[in-house]
Amino acid sequence: MLNKNFYLILIISAVFGISFWIGFNVNLLPVEASINAPIYDELFKILFIIGLIIFIGMTIAVIYSLFKFRKRKDQYGDGIALEGNLSLEIVWTIIPSIIVLIIGLYSYNIYDRMGGMKELNHSHEMMTSNTEKIWAGISQASNNEFASNNLSVEVSAMQFAFLFNYPKGKFISGELHVPVDHKVSMKMESKDVIHAFWVPEFRIKQDIIPGQPTVLNFTPTKVGKYPIICAELCGPYHGGMRASIIVEEESDYKDWFNKNTKTEVSL
């Protein structure tokens, strides 16, 4: 009996050990390039480890039962007439409920840290009229504190391109340039069908809806060029609907911004 329990504990700890090892050592996600990304990856790691424990545990249980309790050639008759075990069933109702509840609360916390639970502020510079109802994506950090420092961009999506309007510079660009470590606020609207704005390295996505502006805020943390991908089926060229976001040092960004502003004015 002691022997049996010993093996059980050994197997359970092996499952936990393997799951934690994989969870901490196997990276399935792209580069972290925004404030959201490390928060997201933290959640991912936890869900990945819990998922692995359950999956490996269940798989071992099924395969072990198939081997251990397979019918031998010389065996006849039925297995034990076990119709249930109330205490066992209560255990595997309550434990998953607790796990699910904890995951739910934890992901609420993650979502809050991403700024998802924040009511969008009406004094925000982009929202010119108070009557206009704007639906929010994620809004990272407080809207008031950095309102003056925010970079505001108006995004319009159409089959099959993104256009980025810089209201302060009065120009439109096909590439989204943003300074690193600055909060960017985007107001997005579609000209035709539903599109979506997705930057995998930022772990953010928001649909761009015709007739209903949406807002998405993010703060890039890593200089580089990342793809902007349309994630909502929008027609034949959906797969080719791409743009780039270029995260650059503030000085580089200012150069680019001034260059574009000037040419626009001179035209």
């Binding site: 309790f69 397979r70 034990i80 109702t93 699910v100 993650i110 979502y111 995998p200």
Partner: protein, 541 residues
């Protein structure tokens, strides 16, 4: 009610053709209708599978080079629609439900045999109409979700035919649902209590409630959408002041329960198969019943988790996260109970059992990614990517389709009186299991790293993983061959199975195989313990 059917039976039966011809007739026999559903569904599965192969060929290279882009969108739309509405829903509900439910309740037929036949005969024409729409002006190309405004702006004939076809299939589904509820509630043999019914009856009762409650919403939504297309109304058209997100709410109010319409019957079927082959009672009958009903109730209030990036208010996102994640609890109970059913049994490892155990492993994996997807912050990154594609194929293919195959191996002797070849069955299982996991497991990584779904072209760095996935799809296509060979060989030269080759205790095995037209020669037996394995009175031999 039963009396009137019996009296009419004697008149109509003489008009019914005999032999294999009866499968092409307007038969009122629930067994014939069940087989009609199964074969019709399987033919559409072959069409849908061919379309899936076309998708995987296109995605073997990063460029859009195998077919024109708009045809690609038609192919993915038809693939989704056919697999859901013409293969999985009709087969797990219509085929097995019609064949088994009257046996399980001890009736000679379904409550409404004519409605039953009508429900089946709506399927072939609407399916053919859907496939044929490709030759009109191109099939629908807005995905199986048909989100406006895309579905309003793409070529109209394809979209309208798609709507008509889905409406007819939805109607068929509702007729079937009403019939199952009536049969299970009203046609039970005297003395048979609800809590003595085999688990598949409970699964079908829950499923049929979902069908009857949610399918009309889909029908209404699609009718409004068709008005927007042909009559230029503005329900969902933003140009005319319509709201596109309202469509998504209405659509997913049906289409999330549709997931349970596809998996709950599979849960029921696996609950029949596991006890028989492991020679043990189903573990925790009562909790299984309550977990089915729990899934039904929760399944109706989780639809907005498909819309976390649509711009829903924060409180709504939170509610739907918690509600969705909690479905894992009743579902988890069922999986623990199935493993407990295996535990301590005397398990015969055969094709039916292998597919059922493959189902448990695949579905647990799909369920885990499902709980992750329910979390708003997690979903925001992977929504509409290959991660989601992988997740739902683990549920509907790794889950339900595995159970369809398992059920075919399990009930083939019942229908034909012949045994299937175990050797070919194990080959079929091995290729399917390896091919399936090779095809869909890598897609999780693709989604996490930046490949959206429904694209014909992608970044070159994803090519290798996509090719692995395509090889898996090829294996899945190949796996159909040993299965079909097995079916035809077994019908022709299969070993005689006897009436009850598995020594099962559920009522359908307590008559001859194949069963007589009236199901039982005399009175239907009263089966109070359909899972009474291991009890002295039921001991094998």
């Amino acid at each position: 009610m039963t009396i009137s059917i019996d009296s009419k039976d004697s008149n109509t039966k003489s008009l019914q053709p005999k032999g294999w011809l009866r499968y092409f007739s307007f038969s009122l026999d629930h067994k014939v209708i069940g087989i009609q559903y199964l074969i019709c569904g399987f033919l559409f599965y072959l069409i849908g599978g061919t379309l899936a192969s076309a998708i995987r060929i296109e995605l073997a290279s990063p460029m859009s080079d195998f077919m024109p882009r708009d045809v690609y969108n038609q192919v993915l739309t038809l693939h989704g629609t056919i697999m859901i509405f013409l293969w999985i829903v009709p087969v797990v509900n219509g085929a097995f439900g019609n064949y088994l439910i009257p046996f399980y309740v001890g009736a000679r037929d379904m409550a409404f045999p004519r409605l039953n036949a009508v429900a089946f005969w709506l399927i072939p024409p609407s399916g053919l109409m859907l496939v044929a729409s490709y030759f009109v002006e191109g099939a629908a190309q807005a995905g199986w979700t048909a989100y406006p405004p895309l579905s309003i702006t793409t070529p109209q004939s394809g979209q309208i035919i798609w709507i008509m076809s889905v409406l007819l299939l939805g109607g068929s589904s509702i007729f079937g649902g009403i019939n199952f509820i009536a049969t299970i509630i009203k046609l039970r043999r005297p003395g048979l209590k609800l809590m003595q019914l085999p688990m598949y009856c409970w699964a079908m009762l829950g499923t049929s409630l979902l069908v009857v409650l949610s399918t009309p919403v889909l029908a209404g939504t699609l009718i409004l959408l068709s008005f927007d297309i042909v009559a230029h109304t503005g329900f969902f058209n933003p140009v005319l002041g319509g709201n596109v997100v309202v469509y998504q709410h209405l659509f997913w109010f049906y289409s999330h329960p549709a997931v349970y319409i596809m998996v709950l019957p599979a849960f029921g079927l696996v609950s029949e198969i596991l006890p028989v082959h492991s020679r043990k009672p189903l573990f925790g009958y009562t909790t299984m019943v309550f977990s089915i009903m729990g899934i039904v109730v929760l399944g109706l209030v989780v639809w907005a988790h498909h819309m976390f990036t649509s711009g829903t208010p924060p409180w709504m996102r939170l509610f739907f996260t918690i509600a969705t994640a909690f479905i894992a609890v009743p579902t988890g109970i069922k999986f623990f109970n199935w493993v407990a059913t295996l535990w301590g049994g005397k398990i015969s490892i055969n094709s039916a059992m292998l597919f059922s155990c493959g189902f448990i492993i695949n579905f647990v994996f799909g369920g885990i990614t499902g709980v992750a997807l329910a979390q708003v912050p997690f979903d925001i990154h992977v929504h509409d990517t290959y991660f989601v594609v992988a997740h739902f194929h683990y549920i509907v293919y790794g889950g339900t389709v595995f159970i369809i195959f398992s059920s075919i191996y399990h009930w083939f002797p019942k229908v034909t009186g012949k045994l299937m070849s175990e050797k070919l069955g194990i080959i079929h299982f091995s290729i399917t299991f390896i091919g399936f996991n090779l095809c869909f497991a890598p897609q999780h990584w693709l989604g996490l790293n930046g490949m959206p779904r429904r694209v014909a072209e992608y970044d070159p760095q994803f090519q290798f993983v996509n090719q692995i996935s395509s090889v898996g799809a090829l294996l899945m296509a190949i796996s159909t061959i040993p299965f079909l060979v097995n079916i035809f060989l077994s019908i022709k030269n299969g070993k005689d199975s006897g009436d009850n080759p598995w020594n099962a205790l559920t009522p359908e095995w307590l008559t001859s195989s194949p069963p007589p037209v009236e199901n039982w020669e005399g009175e239907a037996p009263l089966v109070e313990e359909p899972y009474g394995y291991g009890k002295p009175i039921n001991q094998e031999n």
